[in-house]
């Protein structure tokens, strides 16, 4: 390894290590608080850790702490975010089913391409799309440019790669669409007719109810749940993918 590469690696390690150390500290403190039954403090520690570096396990624990505090909406959001990072996270999946049965809230109603996008982590789909596209293009173009004879398997592989690319396009669309989903955080949060503080209350929604954000105006978001639609205060809505 050259001297320059060693220096670059050292700089990267120096830059990242405080963040990692801080995250691990917060995670460890969260575990200690949770075991001691101090759930507000545990939730704060896990939230700090998840903010610094989102991790599936951290979000699972954050959801457990929020649930123990009585915050069903925040708990369901945390577990959904854990599944967003890692769709194969078993704890998040089990906790979501438990919480939804107890809180009597719906599961998000996903369109078919959104359901497909939940098979893999969101970033995996985009890498898959990029890789398969350029693989197909490369297999078709490079032999000609490089004046190499085309093997018989190359067109087949190119076709397969292009097919996977087309399929992953729909999944990527699903990922983008799912970024607009979220969950109601506050218990019996009022849905208003207008995005104003004194707007008429149409109905109230339960904590943890899934909703789709359609537009934003000031301090309010217009959401659509399975049964109703209206303006909700932004602080009462937890988006799956905060920006």
């Amino acid at each position: 390894m050259s001297l320059r590469a060693c220096l670059l690696l050292a700089v990267l390690v120096c830059r990242l290590s405080p963040v990692c150390a801080g995250t691990e500290d917060a995670f460890a403190r969260g575990l200690e608080f949770s075991r001691a039954g101090q759930f507000p403090e545990a939730a704060a520690a896990f939230e700090k850790s998840a903010t610094a570096q989102p991790a599936a396990g951290t979000l699972v624990n954050l959801g457990l702490a929020e649930w123990q505090r009585g915050h069903a909406g925040a708990a369901i959001l945390a577990w959904e975010q854990a599944r967003w990072i890692d769709p194969f996270e078993p704890r998040a999946e089990a906790n979501l089913r438990f919480a939804r049965q107890l809180a009597q809230v719906d599961t998000p109603q996903l369109k078919w391409f959104e359901a497909v996008s939940a098979w893999l982590p969101p970033n995996a789909w985009v890498w898959l799309a990029g890789t398969t596209l350029w693989l197909a293009v490369g297999l078709m173009v490079l032999p000609g440019i490089l004046r190499r004879p085309k093997a018989g398997w190359q067109p087949w592989l190119a076709a397969l790669a292009f097919g996977i690319f087309l399929f992953s396009l729909t999944a990527n669309l699903g990922v983008l669409s799912r970024t607009q989903t979220g969950f109601v955080l506050r218990k019996n949060a009022p849905l208003r007719l207008t995005p104003t503080r004194d707007g008429e209350v149409i109905s109230s929604v339960a904590a943890g109810e899934p909703a789709r954000r359609l537009r934003t105006r000031g301090n309010y978001v217009f959401i659509r749940t399975l049964g109703s639609a209206g303006w909700l205060e932004q602080s009462d809505f937890g988006p799956l993918c905060p920006r």
């Binding site: 989102p54 396990g57 996270e89 704890r91 490369g138 905060p242 920006r243």
Partner: protein, 605 residues
């Protein structure tokens, strides 16, 4: 025995069927024989008299009227009062807008009032109409009798005469009220104290004052805060006993306000608790009700400044202070009410003090306790809150003409949330669902991590990364295209190669010339010339001779010094391979000619 009982029982079962039906018909027909009930015959107002034990108000007796100047003799230029009194309510008297008065007399605006006289065994209303009158000339003036309409009947107002005498003659001063106010420069809504003073009459007899009113618009009087005194008062430099009624008045209109006080002297009829100081003699006998008025006073009322108004201003004007807020508890559960007690005191009008309004908070339900209480009931809606909401409040200080912030700051509290169950009760086998019956355990490690929950699709840098393969493929395509072009045009490659080789040879030639190495100079010059013309054939430069080079010079060049230079260079280069060394002239002197030839050849390349 049993049989007998059975028959008896059977009889009773059958007989109520007819009997009860007959009784029912009788009951239905009973109202037809009953006489109608008549209400008890009571005299009008009798019920009230029975309940209140009060004498009746006499409004049916004939109305009598009196008219007089008070005093009837007055100095020139001094004020007297023309007073008309009728035994009727003020509203029943159709008082004329204009009176027929002597032209010499100057009448002020009309003042009127009403009082209920206490007469033996009855009450009688008394209405009075008063005019302040001045005369600039001496003389005797009379207002002739005239009639007014009272409850549809004409009532004669008797004539009244006034003697206006010179200032040297003796004449009593008119009896009037004095009005003292605590401030004359005020802000809208700023209360002030007004003292209505009735000086003792001749003989130091003090009378009560009733039905006190202020004339003029834009004032609001708080009669609930009326205080009455009998005390010595300094009036025009003389200390005299007087009846003093003190009350709080609030201006409710901006601008200059002119007003005066009026009231009925009422003997010993003190209608409220009174405090006395000094030796006082009270008037005896029946009360003589006389409507008295004061001279007007003027105040200037400024509107409250709009600039600098602070949140939570409820109209409190004065100087107020707030006690430290007190909480009923500082640890509570979500949904549990909490009492926040506030205490206000100060110099302003606390009777009309409007407490702070309940703020709206996302985390708290705030309910203001009904006035005059200044406390709040707060209910936490979430356990995330760590303090009560701030309750904005401010007052206007007329002294500094500024709004003062008196906001109730947030008070720290601990709100405990109610946890949710972590385990479902065990159900029967057939009711079991697919959902787990309890929450999972804690994750021991953070697990899979990402840099951000925002997917790569929404990050700007990722789009730039996606452009890299595009750029790579484009570059490959361009390279392939160029390669194919050069394959179709090999002379371009040869010329380019010749130019590169020529540049190298020229550098070496110059180095040889600089070093004075004539053989090397000749070799490089000959090779450079061959390289420069080789692409034109095309041929290998080593296979070319001076004739080939000369063929590519211009016609002028072929006959000029350039041709000589080329021949000399090639001859010298060939001579180096001769068996016997030959004498060579100084070949380095050919350098300018060589460079000129190479320049000409390079231009054609």
């Amino acid at each position: 025995m049993n049989m007998g009982n059975a028959q008896h029982s059977t009889f009773h079962v059958q007989s109520p069927g007819c009997g009860l039906r007959a009784v029912g018909w009788l009951l239905l027909l009973t109202p037809l024989w009953l006489p109608a009930q008549t209400p008890p015959q009571l005299p009008p107002g009798g019920l009230m008299q029975l309940q209140m034990m009060q004498p009746a108000v006499d409004v049916s007796s004939p109305v009598t009227a009196t008219a007089q100047f008070d005093p009837p003799v007055v100095h020139v230029g001094e004020t007297t009062f023309y007073r008309v009194s009728l035994d009727a309510t003020e509203s029943s008297v159709q008082w004329p807008d204009e009176l027929s008065t002597p032209a010499e007399l100057k009448f002020g605006p009309k003042r009127s009032g009403q009082i209920t006289q206490m007469q033996p065994g009855k009450f009688r209303p008394l209405a009075s109409f008063v005019y302040a009158v001045e005369s600039p000339v001496e003389g005797r003036f009379t207002i002739t009798n005239f009639s007014v309409e009272v409850m549809g009947a004409r009532v004669q107002i008797p004539a009244a005469s006034l003697n206006v005498v010179a200032k040297s003659a003796s004449a009593p001063a008119a009896r009037r009220l004095a009005l003292e106010i605590s401030a004359t420069n005020l802000f809208l809504g700023q209360p002030f104290h007004a003292r209505v003073i009735l000086p003792a009459s001749s003989g130091n007899q003090v009378e009560a004052l009733r039905e006190i009113e202020f004339s003029g618009d834009g004032l609001m009087t708080d009669k609930t805060a009326l205080q009455q005194f009998i005390e010595p008062v300094n009036l025009q430099g003389q200390l005299r006993n007087a009846f003093v009624a003190e009350m709080k008045v609030t201006p409710i209109a901006a601008g200059p306000l002119k007003f005066s006080a009026q009231g009925f002297s009422a003997g010993r009829e003190f209608m409220a608790p009174i405090s006395m100081r000094g030796q006082v003699s009270l008037a005896g006998g029946l009360s003589q009700y006389t409507l008295l008025v004061s001279d007007p006073v003027e105040i200037l009322v400024r509107p409250l400044p709009v600039d600098g108004e602070l949140p939570g201003f409820t109209g409190a004007i004065g100087k107020f202070f707030r006690d430290q807020p007190r909480l009923s508890t500082n640890r509570l559960h979500v949904g549990e009410p909490l009492q926040l007690r506030l205490g206000f005191h100060g110099e302003g009008d606390l009777a009309r003090f409007v407490p702070p309004t309940a703020p709206r908070s996302r985390d708290w339900q705030v309910i203001a306790d009904p006035p005059p209480a200044t406390s709040f009931t707060l209910i936490p809606l979430t356990d995330e809150t760590q303090a009560t909401p701030a309750i904005p409040f401010s007052y206007f200080d007329p002294g500094s003409a500024k709004y003062v912030d008196l906001t109730i700051p947030p008070q720290p509290v601990t709100v405990v949330g109610e946890g949710l169950p972590v385990e479902l009760p065990v159900l029967k086998e057939e009711e079991k669902s697919a959902a787990p019956v309890k929450l999972s355990t804690l994750a021991p490690t953070p697990g899979k991590t990402v840099r951000s929950l925002t997917p790569l699709q929404l990050r700007g840098w990722f789009a730039a990364v996606e452009l890299a393969p595009v750029i790579g493929f484009f570059a490959l395509w361009q390279w392939d295209r160029r390669r194919r072009y050069l394959e179709a045009h090999p002379e371009i490659v040869r010329r380019a190669q010749a130019r590169r080789a020529l540049r190298r040879e020229k550098q070496q030639l110059q180095q040889a010339a600089a070093a004075g190495d004539a053989p090397a100079f000749v070799q490089h010059a000959a090779r450079a010339m061959s390289i420069a013309v080789a692409p034109h054939f095309p041929a290998n430069p080593r296979a070319l001779v001076s004739g080939d080079v000369l063929a590519h010079l211009t016609d002028a060049g072929q006959a000029g010094p350039a041709a000589v230079t080329v021949k000399q260079i090639f001859a010298a280069a060939d001579a180096q391979y001769a068996v016997t060394p030959q004498t060579q002239p100084d070949l380095l002197t050919l350098r300018p000619g060589v460079e000129a030839v190479l320049q000409a050849l390079e231009e054609k390349l």
